[in-house]
């Protein structure tokens, strides 16, 4: 359906975030917030128009769109919009912030721009620049609350992510030296002949971009940055930054013929499974509810990488999982932000009885935690089920068993802790110190509803785009 000229849509989705970032610097009260909100909504509207339009193609030397980029654009701009709307209330509760609201909204727009730019370019080098730019734009957002722990988290994030990305850049050097081009669309269409440099490049890209995806053992920045960043930024980290980094890897992976060489498949399964299991088991002993959510993201990313490796129906499941997780995890972080602002703590054992103290936030948090841990009928359940079915269909029974183990362990770990905070007796310890208007829970409910809709219904246009994206990468939707 033609609702908007695709090139105009592309320019709108690409330029709305930086335009809002520049306008946010206007030193008038409320202007920065308004600019950020309008910019995020324009970007979301443009991404939805591109999804409905369905046009694939390329414009000029470096801009291009296909079903994969359209799906990721909707994810990124949706969470960008909800995080922008959620930010206002959150910022009011931050005492002596390191950034003024103007700078905060400007960096938020720059962060979104870096991710959107990664998704609409056709050149692997530009995608790498986009991913690197996300680090530059978001590192300072992590230190908003000016705590020693947040400074250390920002440092570790910047350093580890950048070290990983230099390895990814080496991968691109190998691809260019072997093929003479970095055009992702052309390379995916022609599939250059398999060679040692290409296989090494894919392996190095997995390690390099995998650092930013949070794959084990390069994940160490992830729990720190997610837990120390302000909640709207944590939502963007978990919900869309990790998938955007995975997207950059998928573009490198797509140059391989289908099915991928066994060495690459084994490598992906190894990294993915190790990440899923370590995330699931490490979250059991977390005392901070934000770190709990961070390790849960790691577990989900690991399962998604296994889905990519298995191909077929599992690859479709991986994309469904990524889309649903983006909405569900951002909702969970918004709830965590409300609780943090109200109680002044991130410690699980200091928060109880949210069902009475913060009923709307508590309710949304329970639903969001079910959604992120793959409970039916949320889309995460569908995605994880398809990945396990893919493993069984490929004859990898032990892999299916270990995936189910990771899912169950993460489900029990996350929901038991969130359940204690929501339904536990208030006589234990801790209490709400500051009454926070719970209106901001509305964006959490909205995102949970979308996560539910992906699981129970075939969402118009989005479901079709996920199917097409899966086929593009060699998968086979059910």
């Amino acid at each position: 359906m033609n609702v908007l000229d695709p090139l105009l849509g592309l320019y709108l989705v690409l330029l709305a975030p930086p335009a809002s970032a520049l306008l946010a610097l206007i030193p008038y009260s409320g202007a920065s917030r308004m600019a950020a909100r309008v910019g995020s909504l324009v970007a979301l509207a443009a991404a939805l128009a591109l999804l409905v339009d369905g046009t694939s193609g390329r414009w000029g030397l470096y801009l291009g769109l296909d079903s994969l980029s359209r799906v990721f654009l909707v994810m990124v701009t949706s969470v960008y919009a909800t995080s922008t709307w959620y930010s206002e209330g959150y910022l009011r509760g931050v005492h002596q912030p390191f950034l003024t609201p103007q700078l905060y909204y400007a960096l938020l727009g720059a962060f979104a721009f870096a991710m959107v730019a990664t998704l609409v370019v056709t050149d692997l080098g530009l995608m790498w620049i986009g991913i690197e730019a996300t680090t530059v734009a978001s590192a300072l957002l992590v230190v908003l609350e000016r705590k020693p722990t947040s400074v250390e988290a920002a440092w570790r994030y910047t350093l580890i992510a950048s070290a990983g990305l230099t390895i990814a850049l080496f991968a691109l050097l190998l691809i260019y030296a072997d093929t003479g081009t970095l055009d992702a669309f052309a390379l995916a269409a022609t599939h250059p002949a398999l060679s040692l440099p290409i296989e090494m490049a894919v392996a190095l890209a997995l390690v390099g971009y995998g650092t930013k995806v949070g794959l084990f053992p390069m994940h160490t920045w992830l729990p720190d940055a997610h837990s120390e960043a302000p909640s709207p930024i944590s939502a963007m980290f978990s919900g869309v930054l990790l998938p955007t980094a995975l997207y950059a890897f998928l573009r490198v992976y797509a140059i391989l013929p289908s099915p991928a060489p066994a060495m690459v498949t084994d490598l992906l399964v190894t990294f993915g499974l190790a990440t899923a299991l370590s995330g699931a088991f490490l979250l059991q002993r977390q005392r901070s509810f934000k770190r709990l959510l961070a390790y849960s993201s790691m577990e989900v990313m690991g399962i998604a990488v296994v889905g990519v490796a298995l191909g077929g129906v599992a690859l479709y499941g991986a994309l469904v999982l990524l889309v649903t997780h983006a909405f569900a995890k951002s909702a969970a972080f918004y709830c965590a932000g409300n609780v943090l602002r109200s109680t002044g703590t991130t410690r699980v054992d200091e928060v109880r009885d949210l069902q009475h103290l913060m009923p709307r936030t508590g309710g949304a948090w329970v639903l969001a935690s079910f959604a992120v841990t793959g409970a039916p009928p949320f889309g995460t359940f569908l995605g994880e089920l398809l990945i396990v079915m893919g493993a069984i269909a490929a004859g990898w029974y032990w892999l299916a068993l270990l995936l189910v183990l990771a899912v169950l362990v993460a489900f029990l770990g996350v929901n038991s802790q969130i359940g204690r905070m929501v339904f536990g007796s208030s006589s234990a310890k801790g209490s709400v110190q500051t009454r926070v208007p719970e209106d901001s829970a509305a964006v959490a409910y909205l995102n949970v509803a979308i996560a539910l809709a992906v699981g129970v219904a075939s969402l118009p246009y989005l479901s079709d785009a996920i199917r097409a994206a899966s086929s593009l990468l060699g998968g086979s939707p059910p």
């Binding site: 730019a133 230190v143 000016r146 920002a154 350093l159 691109l172």
Partner: protein, 215 residues
């Protein structure tokens, strides 16, 4: 008359020696001088290749390397040290210095061996393994040091490795200048902003190992 192969060999040996020196040095000031020297050597190679190939991109890279990594960032790092009012020595025990040096030599040999086994046939240029060795050295420094100033030096060494690799076997790599500019911007953000915040908030250049970030 020097040939390009002579310059590549001379610079390669110099870069390797500076990399090993950086791994075995325990004082911060010589480390900063070491990375500045390594960047100058790299700029020399880039300048030579720029003049022989008539490449404006390589000339620009040579200039960027001198300005950002040999002058500006080392200058900011030295100011960081002065602000702390003490002579920063990261590693105190002699045995740990020896351990770092031995680990660096072992890592260099392993990286060279891996390159020869996998990619030497694809990249037969003289000294093509050295950027790979330098990348591993930078990663080793990032992984084994706890002082943030030293970690910045490890990061700069990695960046030097990327530029070195691009100069040797992918000088036509599209957007290479832009990539290096981005890496430099990140370096400046790292050094200029986060280090300053860290000093103001924690009063120390050491990674705190804070209890809350454990696990």
């Amino acid at each position: 008359m020097l040939s390009t192969a002579d310059v590549i060999a001379f610079v390669g040996v110099g870069i390797l020696l500076t990399a090993l020196f950086l791994q075995s040095e325990s004082f911060i000031s010589p480390l900063i001088q070491g990375i500045a020297l390594q960047s100058l050597l790299l700029a020399l190679l880039l300048g030579w290749l720029a003049s022989t190939e008539g490449s404006l991109d390589l000339a620009l890279l040579a200039g960027l390397t001198v300005v950002v990594r040999a002058l500006v960032i080392p200058y900011v790092l030295r100011r960081q040290i002065r602000a702390f009012h003490w002579r920063i020595r990261e590693i105190h025990a002699a045995s740990r210095v020896t351990g770092h040096a031995l680990a660096a030599v072992a890592a260099a040999i392993i990286a060279w061996f891996v390159f020869q086994q996998t990619l030497a046939s694809v990249f037969p240029q003289p000294g093509a393994a050295l950027p790979f060795v330098l990348l591993v050295q930078g990663l080793l420094m990032l992984a084994t040091r706890s002082n943030t100033l030293v970690q910045v030096i490890g990061y700069l060494e990695e960046e030097n490795a990327i530029v070195y690799a691009g100069a040797l076997f992918a000088s036509a790599f599209p957007l290479f200048v832009e990539v290096v500019v981005f890496l430099d911007v990140l370096g400046v953000v790292l050094v200029g902003v986060i280090l300053s915040i860290q000093r103001d908030v924690t009063g120390s250049p050491e990674q705190a190992g804070l209890e809350e970030l454990a696990g």
